[in-house]
């Protein structure tokens, strides 16, 4: 695919990347024109995906914004082994070099970052399989039918537990105390030497309390699911009354969600890492004198920020550089933190030289949340002029609200937690013993967007085929919304009532 010149660039940059100890999957480069690029971008990099209008919607957006010169996709790489990378035909030489280096760094990140460790590395094939299956279902059940079902699934596609692939579940340890027929544990009593001491050794209150506890446990055991489940999709796949093909579609969509989740979780790190390395490799080893201006121009373009928002490339790259610098100079730890002399802190240098090792460690173990939590420092915020902004009702403008480190960090972490999505759990799959589904929103200070939440509930009703309840907090009060079939022949209705 690639021309001879390009092949040379690829070979050279690959060699350099290895020298820097980047460790990546093999990368297959394809050079494609902008139409193909736009199309692939709509399918988020996969040449074959199932058919659905939302990819058309992406295409509309991407191709329009390309043709109006709003933005251009230079490169794309997918997490797969081997990694597939697409380069835009007609990029200048220096652009190609930059994006090639960028791609290698991404591939290194995909391969080594812990959060990607459980992603399917043959996703290219898997996506194609999904496409085939869905097209078969379409043949069998009709376009409208399948599309409509996919629409419903997409509305809950993000109800997965992004940490679940890593949770090691202990096998239930069977209690040595045998349960009686009712499933209750026998109440333990101490042996009393004399009858008259019985009430003192085994006070009736305590016995009663134990009995109650055991009753409670029994009730708990009958609960379904036993504990709240964040992987709502899995719960539905397992327990919803679906046709087999529907179950299959739902589980495919769940699988794709799990595939994409780490990319959402590591956006700042991943882009930062790639920007760090393309800049390092190019400026240290690749760029010729004649190319330096164009390189700088492109690089600056990548890192440019709009007022009032954060560019993940820039934030990530600067943080990696900051970490490298701090660990090189030993600007961390108790001694450094407790030093009160600003001048001394600024000039701090203990020649530790651990910077490079540290950033490789960071890229292996962290995700955006832990990355920001651990490495965003007050100095960094000041130096890079971070701020929080808030809405001012009287001017209808967003205005800079604070440059306080704590607030900035808090806000960033909030925006990143669970990829910025609310946490929804399945509490009960047999609510009121009527087979109804009871969900709860873990309220953490921000309310749900209600109109959407209601629509999602309606969709879930169609999946669950029994009433679906959602508990959430509105204006400080716990409310339950219920999607019910309504009266016969009527549309799904939403009712809400106050709980407490």
């Amino acid at each position: 695919m690639a021309s001879t010149d390009l092949k040379q660039h690829i070979e050279e940059i690959e060699k350099r990347a290895h020298e820097y100890e980047l460790d990546f999957f093999d990368v297959v480069f394809e050079v494609i024109d902008f139409e193909e690029m736009n199309m692939l971008a709509s399918y988020s990099g996969f040449p074959v995906r199932y058919t659905h209008w939302r990819f058309g919607m992406e295409y509309e957006k991407i191709s329009k914004s390309y043709s109006y010169g709003l933005h251009k996709i230079y490169e794309m790489v997918i997490n797969n082994d081997p990694a597939y990378a697409y380069l835009l035909k007609g990029n200048t030489d220096i652009d190609q070099k930059l994006v090639i280096a960028h791609v290698y760094a991404h591939s290194d990140f995909f391969k080594n970052n812990f959060w990607f460790s459980v992603t399917n590395r043959k996703m290219l094939n898997e996506m194609a399989n999904h496409a085939v299956k869905i097209s078969r279902y379409i043949d069998k059940y009709g376009y409208e039918e399948v599309e409509g079902f996919v629409d419903i699934c997409l509305s809950i596609e993000d109800l997965i537990d992004i940490h679940s692939p890593f949770i090691k579940r202990q096998f239930a340890v069977k209690s040595f105390l045998e349960e009686d027929e009712d499933g209750r544990k026998p109440i333990s009593k101490l042996r009393s030497p004399n009858e008259y001491l019985e009430d003192y050794i085994n006070p009736p209150d305590f016995i009663e309390w134990q009995r109650k506890k055991s009753e409670d446990e029994k009730i708990k055991k009958e609960k379904f699911p036993e504990s709240p489940k964040r992987d709502v999709l899995f719960f539905l796949v397992e327990n919803a009354e679906l046709e087999e093909w529907q179950r299959d579609v739902l589980s495919m969509i769940r699988e794709e969600s799990y595939y994409y989740a780490p990319q959402m979780q590591t956006r700042i790190m991943n882009e930062g890492w790639a920007a760090y390395w393309h800049s390092k490799i190019l400026t240290e080893k690749i760029v010729t004198d004649t190319e330096i201006i164009d390189y700088a121009d492109h690089h600056a373009g990548t890192l440019a920020g709009r007022a009032g928002s954060i560019n993940p490339y820039k934030l990530g790259m600067e943080l990696f550089r900051d970490i490298e610098d701090r660990w090189n100079k030993g600007k961390f730890g108790k001694e450094y933190e407790e030093c009160n002399d600003i001048e001394a802190k600024r000039k701090w240098e203990v020649k530790l030289g651990l910077g490079r090792d540290k950033i490789f460690e960071v890229r292996r173990l962290y995700n955006d949340v832990t990355f920001i939590d651990e490495f965003l420092t007050e100095d960094f915020c000041r130096e890079h002029k971070l701020f929080t902004y808030a809405y001012n009702r009287s001017t209808n403008m967003y205005e800079i609200e604070s440059r306080d480190f704590k607030k900035i960090k808090e806000k960033l972490l909030f925006l990143l937690t669970n990829c910025g999505r609310p946490i929804i759990e399945v509490i009960d799959g047999n609510y009121m013993n009527r087979g109804e589904l009871y969900l709860a929103h873990k309220h953490e200070g921000v309310e749900l967007k209600l109109d959407w939440a209601k629509d999602v509930l309606k969709h879930m009703f169609k999946l669950w085929r029994r009433p679906v309840h959602l508990e959430t907090v509105i204006d400080g009060k716990v409310r339950v919304f219920t999607a019910d079939g309504g009266k016969k022949g009527k549309e799904v209705e939403i009712e809400s009532f106050l709980v407490r």
């Binding site: 139409e35 193909e36 199309m39 709509s42 399918y43 074959v48 058919t51 209008w53 939302r54 990819f55 058309g56 295409y59 509309e60 957006k61 329009k64 629409d151 997409l154 509305s155 809950i156 993000d158 109800l159 959402m264 956006r267 700042i268 920020g305 709009r306 007022a307 009032g308 928002s309 954060i310 560019n311 993940p312 890079h384 002029k385 971070l386 701020f387 929080t388 902004y389 808030a390 809405y391 209808n396 403008m397 967003y398 205005e399 800079i400 609200e401 806000k411 960033l412 925006l415 990143l416 910025g420 999505r421 609310p422 921000v446 309310e447 749900l448 967007k449 209600l450 959407w452 999602v456």
Partner: protein, 367 residues
């Protein structure tokens, strides 16, 4: 690599077309629709088909940014920019779909089941008033064009060699004579003027004005679709009325009392002076919170309407927006006194969602 996307793209666009129709109700209240580009192409930010998810109600919660600026420095306009959060958020998807205003008006018409406006009888008369801007070779002496005639004579004499530089005497003959002639100017058969009036007294807040803005935009689009040439005039009033340009109409914030008759008087004056109602289709839209200064003035308004305006106007629409301060009495006064008039339409617009029904009510008569 085949362009597999064609199928999905086509499907999406089909849905969008249907989407526009079904969700027009929600759509109409989105002020982003107003954005004229070029001549009649309007670029409308169409929300993408948003698949609902469980999300945080983050609309106005702010985020984290980077750059210079003191506390309080604006970083973005509320409705648009700020929806993008600190890089990690995908941001609101705004999709530009290009539709001509005409197409949009047609869709609106279909959606609202608006009847096409029937031309009134008298407007079929085409007028042939003309200007003396043409030149003919024959005509009455009184209309002889001396300069052109002289030029023709000069040309003829130079060509035939009878012109003498030293003694330039020009004598026109019959063939040289040129006469001014009347050129028939076809007046556009239906001239239409639309006058928008808005109460800008203290009680009209920005929300109320937003409603007026959205509603008048759509009315304007529909009328423009029906009539090729259309003139629009804008009047704002509190205790006094004045004519303003479009821009001012939507921006101005006055305060003070409300004397509605001032606007109607100015309206009548504009029509009398510039748009004689024998020759023009006149549409008037008046928006107010219905809290007139005094009963006397209300009576005066009714009088003006009854005695002059309603006798010749195509349509007089009164839209009453709800305001926490206004009594809204004016609506009822009009209803009581003039409720039977065919060309008077009254409508209440309590909130943005009601704009849809209000437009329907205003334009459903097809007059």
């Amino acid at each position: 690599m085949s362009l597999r996307i064609e199928q999905d793209w086509g499907r999406f666009r089909e849905i969008v077309r249907g989407k526009i129709k079904q969700n027009l109700r929600r759509y109409i209240v989105r002020s982003e629709l107003i954005g004229k580009k070029g001549k009649d192409l309007v670029s409308i930010p169409v929300p993408q088909i948003e698949i609902p998810h469980f999300v945080h109600a983050l609309e106005r919660s702010g985020g984290v940014g980077q750059g210079d600026g003191d506390l309080g420095t604006p970083v973005g306009i509320g409705e648009h920019e700020g929806d993008r959060h600190a890089g990690n958020q995908p941001g609101e998807h705004i999709l530009e779909v290009e539709i001509t205003l005409e197409e949009l008006a047609r869709i609106l018409g279909e959606e609202l089941e608006l009847p096409n406006i029937e031309p009134r009888g008298k407007k079929n008369i085409k007028s042939f008033s003309g200007k003396y801007s043409d030149i003919h070779t024959a005509g009455p002496e009184s209309l002889r064009h001396a300069k052109r005639t002289f030029k023709e004579a000069l040309k003829r004499q130079i060509i035939s060699g009878s012109y003498d530089n030293v003694d330039p005497v020009i004598i026109p003959v019959t063939e040289d004579k040129r006469y001014k002639a009347r050129e028939p100017v076809e007046q556009p058969a239906f001239n239409t003027v639309v006058i928008y009036m808005m109460d800008v007294s203290g009680s009209m807040g920005s929300e109320q004005k937003e409603i007026v803005r959205v509603e008048s935009f759509w009315i304007d689009s529909w009328l423009r679709y029906q009539y090729k040439d259309i003139e629009t005039k804008y009047i704002v009033h509190d205790a006094v009325a004045r004519e303003v340009d479009r821009d001012t109409f939507f921006r101005v914030r006055e305060s003070g009392g409300t004397i509605i008759s001032s606007a109607y008087k100015l309206f009548r004056k504009i029509i009398d002076e510039r748009y004689p109602h024998e020759e023009w289709n006149v549409y008037a839209f008046h928006f107010s919170d219905g809290d007139n200064w005094s009963r006397d003035d209300t009576h005066e308004c009714i009088e003006i309407l009854e005695e002059s305006l309603l006798s010749w106007i195509n349509l007089f629409c009164y839209g009453q927006v709800e305001s926490p301060y206004g009594s809204g009495q004016f609506y009822y006064d009009l209803e009581d006194h003039l409720g039977e008039k065919e060309n008077l339409v009254l409508s209440k617009i309590p909130n943005k969602d009601a704009v849809y029904d209000s437009i329907k009510k205003f334009l459903a008569k097809g007059r």
